[in-house]
Subunit: 356 residues, 2 copies
């Protein structure tokens, strides 16, 4: 605030702008960012290999990777909807109730690891998971590869991108990951402010950001993705109560101390990625901020404080990815046809494994 | 064939083209179309109202029109896949087994009526159907309108397009229909041939078309959409056996004579719209052509004849619609959240109606 007044005073003193412009600046500008803000602006995606990205986009939207022929990556990471499905937990094969809230795919390449429990080290490893999860796409990697291998339009693209007509799960997930790496959302109003445009955010939003820092939210939600770079316990001060059975890092490490340690979600585009938390239990940002304040920081935000933080969070919505809706190569006579109402391939695999 | 030779002979006689070009023409060209071919080329879509089409595209891709928040128009009329879901019958709310094969939305504005039984007179009327069908999107129109009305980003667009902020189901379906009217697929190789490019199709494809006409397929599959312009009995010469309970026009007219009278499907993009028939029972074009020949025409096509007709059918794939994947306005705190695992709104309505 002091800085704004100073700027206005200088403008008047030098006569560089009219009095009315100086007043406008006084009311419309907020202070400049510090030199060492704990959040950094996000850059637009650089496409390294366009042919691979195009192939990945087709695979991302292809429901034939699922056993039913109905569920694609985009079903749960819907790029019309902030890279999520906006459901508490996702709907999977046979209308299964998914185990956990779908995290956004937007800017996900910046995360320290993938999944809420970080069990996949990168997007490539992640992409193979849902394909074979009985509650999600309910396929097997073998069948998914057979499906894609049988489609001449795909084989030609694999040849172009990888120099071989042999499709395998590694190439499929590499292409999907290459597409996902392009799903960056630069140019949010907050990033514009970080880059020096002091009119990009309002006074209320600015105050919300200051409170976000002073209250301690920034301790976990920081860096270029405003989260996504550490694992933290859900329920530090007060226990988080949920019917959701997910255990977080404990499921990966086997250590009891890691119970309820989850990857901190990114706050970029958080206005679009409701509902919140790993169980999707918080419908609104107001609820999420309130719960986080109490459980993580031991602080009950006033309505005014909560509203300011929410206003700040809504400045984090960036330019959504722009791309032409992909046309996918058709199946041919030899392509196996999906049987959505029969027992899924993943279920059969799971039963075989259980018998052994 | 005679025409090809004649063309080549004329070319040589007049010295208009080199000998090698004449030979190329002889081997690569097919005869020109007749002046009164029973199939006409399709024109590119003309966008009358871009703002309405853009709004319609968002609604077409918005799963919040469904009770689950998971199923959009595009789920079953997937524009990556020829405007269909490539399933025998569609998957609906709660993994319901849909009653009938999803017809393509591509070029559907040209059809005489909508749905296999033609019970909707146009696309606008059609669009309201699946929203409230308990086996499809399982919503009610009232809830769908409430959902859209609660979203400020949509309200602003309705204001721009319709001059009012009041959302109703008529405006929703009008916008969806406006988008669907743009989903034309011009420039198929067959259309190029119809327009005079005698090299656009091969000799085999040309022969397939001649057989398609002489065998009688053309009696029903004709006009600009190569079908879609009449209702015909499925199983004229021989009965069509299916477990699917759909009755066709009889369900609309109540007349027993209309039993198994279905709208003749378009053959445009038929390479992409497998599986075939109202029950989706034919996986391949080869099967479909064989069954049609026997049941409708009383003719068993030889393998060679069948292959030629299939080759012709594959020339009917046009340019697929190109558009930027729509970003949909987010829900706000006041927007009702979907409850995909509870009894659906359409189910509740249906039960109420049954009790009365």
């Amino acid at each position: 605030m002091r800085k704004t007044l100073l700027t206005a005073a200088i403008a008047v003193a030098f006569g560089a702008v009219s009095m009315s412009a100086a007043i406008a600046a006084k009311s419309d500008s907020v202070p400049k960012p510090d030199k060492d803000e704990p959040i950094q602006p996000i850059a637009a995606a650089k496409v390294k290999n366009k042919a691979m990205v195009d192939l990945g986009a087709k695979l991302f939207f292809d429901p034939r990777l699922s056993n039913s022929g109905f569920i694609s990556c985009n079903s749960c990471h819907n790029l019309s909807l902030g890279g999520t499905d906006n459901l508490e937990t996702s709907i999977g094969h046979g209308w299964s109730r998914g185990p956990i809230n779908s995290p956004t795919v937007l800017n996900s390449a910046l995360n320290i690891a993938q999944f809420w429990d970080g069990r996949a080290k990168d997007l490539r490893e992640q992409a193979g998971g849902p394909i074979a999860n009985p509650l999600e796409m309910a396929n097997t990697h073998v069948l998914a590869v057979q499906q894609i291998q049988s489609i001449p339009g795909y084989v030609a693209e694999f040849k172009k991108v990888f120099g071989t007509e042999k499709v395998d799960i590694e190439k499929i997930t590499e292409a999907i990951a290459a597409f996902e790496e392009t799903l960056m959302t630069p140019n949010s109003r907050f990033d514009q402010w970080l880059k020096g445009n002091t009119k990009a955010i309002t006074k209320t939003e600015y105050e919300g950001y200051q409170l976000f820092k002073s209250a301690g939210c920034i301790a976990c939600h920081n860096g270029i993705n405003i989260g996504g770079n550490s694992f933290q316990k859900m329920g530090v001060v007060e226990e988080y109560k949920t019917a959701n059975p997910a255990q977080g890092r404990a499921g990966v490490s086997g250590k009891d101390a890691d119970r309820f340690n989850f990857k901190v979600p990114t706050l970029r585009n958080v206005e679009l990625t409701y509902p919140y938390f790993h169980d999707g239990a918080a419908d609104t940002l107001t609820q999420a901020v309130d719960i986080m304040g109490r459980l993580q920081l031991g602080r009950k935000f006033t309505d005014d404080e909560n509203a300011k933080i929410v206003a700040f969070l809504k400045t984090l919505t960036g330019d959504q990815p722009k791309f032409e809706f992909p046309i996918i190569p058709p199946s041919v006579d030899a392509t196996p046809r999906p049987k959505p109402w029969e027992k899924s391939a993943a279920q059969v695999e799971a039963e075989k494994a259980a018998k052994k």
